[in-house]
Symmetry: C2
Subunit: 190 residues, 2 copies
């Protein structure tokens, strides 16, 4: 009944995500997104709305992606798996253009956007809760005490790891921190 789209939505969102991840929100221009995706201005805005709406879509996709990674590492896991999770974050990157060099898109966005819109803030909150929940599950099932405090501690440490990666543009910069943290987690086992 109407002209069909010339692109696959998921692919476009993924390409846009990488650009926002690498450059940040402000430094990513709508024109650059047109170039990256190969779409025209009207096609992009027709399908995904304006820049801020597209960004929220990207954040949601990022959160879902990270949920998959969290689940694969920590679903029904023990403290040893949790320790390995932190070591994995700081594992050496594969090649010069490994996106992991950019740290965490959500953390980066929190720092960049002084005044977040409500939808963006909601994504950040959900992202945070996602980590806390997973950490809490592992800690509880491992019979550790002081679960709430430790979960908050692990989240803060995770953000610290991402900070070091972002600064050095290299995951291995966080290896000392990650190894130390992994040892601390292992020490919680009775």
């Amino acid at each position: 009944m109407a002209r069909p789209r010339n692109f696959v939505e998921e692919e476009v969102v993924r390409a846009v995500m990488m650009t926002f991840w690498r450059l940040g929100y402000d430094a990513t221009t709508y024109r650059e997104l047109q170039k990256i995706t190969g779409l025209g201005l009207r096609s992009l805005s027709n399908a995904f709305g304006e820049k801020d709406e597209l960004f929220v879509t990207v954040l949601r996709a990022y959160r879902v992606m990270m949920k998959g990674m969290l689940d694969s590492f920590l679903e029904g896991a023990d403290l040893e798996a949790l320790a390995q999770f932190f070591e994995a974050i700081a594992a050496p990157s594969e090649g010069e253009d490994d996106i992991r060099r950019e740290g965490c898109l959500m953390v980066n966005s929190v720092f960049e956007l002084t005044n977040m819109s409500d939808p963006v803030a909601a994504e950040v909150t959900a992202y945070r809760a996602m980590f806390i929940e997973r950490f809490r599950d592992v800690l509880t099932q491992s019979g550790v005490d002081d679960v709430e405090t430790k979960a908050e501690y692990l989240l803060g440490s995770t953000w610290g790891i991402f900070s070091q990666i972002r600064l050095a543009k290299d995951p291995v910069a966080a290896q000392p921190m990650a190894r130390m943290l992994a040892d601390i987690v292992r020490s919680w086992a009775q």
Copy 2:
């Protein structure tokens, strides 16, 4: 021999620092800085150069300020003082406009500026080294093993604390993390 300046340099730098701290580099316009300082465009640029040069001046001033804080806490200090240092960072803010709500200007800048100029990168490097050195001194004098790894770990954790503060716009958001970290530091004492 020439027309005298109508301002005190330190006061201007301090006012500009607060604005960059609160809004970030990009969101701070040169016009806003004119308004904040009460100076005209030519006065500002004449005294401090263009926006990026003024920013480097601010970063240097911030680093010196933080060095004072670090020294007052950690010069010749023991592990207990180090533990209290982390708890102090997360101490409740005094009032709604406490600048500590904004986290750390240097950390914020690292996240915001995808492509840092060389002078900015140099400031960040010096800032990082300043923390590492102080941590290392305390750890060494306390007879702790694995000093290098632990110093890196403490730096990453510090950045994690600043991340949590920045996200929540409130130092107390980092209290669980800071308390946990303080306990870990105390546990290093033999």
